[in-house]
Symmetry: C2
Subunit: 225 residues, 2 copies
């Protein structure tokens, strides 16, 4: 009974996610679902992205949290279009919440949309939002055992960012072990290592966002012609 209902919920979500994906395609908006444990640095990464890419790539942000509009306020300070979703007790965003949020954006004016999911290394992995790619942040203080312990999430995300590498002198974290664990789960995956605090490694992230957005646009044009 429980399993059947969960399957129905996921099926309904998938249908809405497909509709979102079609809308993003029609509007030419590349969409990244950003996920991590609580406090791994998603919002800070978006702030750094705003500092570097605002004016070059028009992007918006959907923020997901159980409570507060704190993250939306942080992003809004960069004059980035942003909407906060509060899930109450909800442990993840779903496609319907994203659909409802889209009316608050002028999608015609955007090239890129980040969806910052609820901080949770489990549940968000199961819910398609209509995004084109998923990016996972793992912060070094969380420990080097996380890929092995949360394989469902790591399998879903072709890009893993190891954040807070400036803290490696102070926390037990074996970078080689983590790289090997991620490679086992996701052999073709991309691994970036950076620190939002020091700026180390941020260039590669910014270049990735730039190239992926460009590639999406080019594919759209190629398929339209």
């Amino acid at each position: 009974m429980e399993i059947k209902v969960v399957q129905n919920i996921l099926k309904a979500n998938d249908a809405l996610a497909a509709a979102n994906r079609k809308q993003f395609r029609d509007k030419g908006v590349f969409v990244i679902d950003l996920m991590s444990s609580p406090g791994a640095g998603k919002t800070t990464l978006l702030e750094k992205t705003a500092e570097r890419l605002a004016g070059e790539i028009a992007f918006g942000v959907i923020e997901g949290d159980l409570a507060t509009a704190a993250d939306a306020e942080r992003i809004g300070a960069y004059q980035i279009p942003v909407l906060q979703i509060n899930t109450g007790k909800g442990c993840h965003l779903d496609a319907n919440q994203v659909q409802n949020a889209l009316q608050y954006f002028d999608l015609d004016s955007l090239d890129l949309l980040f969806i910052e999911n609820v901080g949770n290394l489990v549940c968000p992995a199961e819910f398609d939002l209509g995004q084109h790619t998923k990016v996972l942040l793992l912060s070094t203080p969380e420990g080097d055992d996380k890929p092995d312990k949360y394989p469902v999430m790591f399998r879903q995300c072709p890009t893993v960012i190891i954040n807070k590498v400036d803290l490696t002198p102070y926390v037990p974290f074996n970078l080689d072990k983590v790289r090997a664990s991620i490679r086992r789960i996701q052999p073709e995956g991309r691994i970036l290592e950076l620190s939002c605090q020091t700026g180390q490694g941020l260039d590669a992230w910014i270049e990735l966002v730039r190239q992926e957005t460009k590639r999406f646009k080019a594919e759209l044009q190629a398929s339209a012609s």
Copy 2:
């Protein structure tokens, strides 16, 4: 429909949790549900607890993770009775899983049982396991906005441990702000500040475990006489 099913699941869980609680009482075992984000330091805290209390208080540990037996192996190295539950895609432990796990323990020989829940700051808050108290770990690298952003979890836990205080020179974390946020959500709550890496503040935790276990036993005896 979805809401009704979720209510039914929670109701069924509550009945099993009540049965667990009765069993713990009958056996004189004090039970602590330990929760946090992934990588906040739950297993390390239990290792430190084993170092200090093994031989003095007979305790066992139930470990919850999506995958691997890594945590059970770490605890087992201290000759502590331990069972690993792997939840697969499951984002929390439930009362039924705990019930099934109990057959692997000799409860008559235990005074205390720790249940280390799945690393998740959302879902475990909703599922009663039959524990007598809940302890929440918040690690400083997660940031000082977590109580406000995850109020459901913080409301559930009368004891909050701020872990990894040795990292405060390196991460943006305002202790006063966090204390005030926790007090707003849980005015009667207890806040401990410690570092499992340096040992700072561990004495207060060990003394709390000692006193709470003693208090539970004394209450049992008083109600029996």
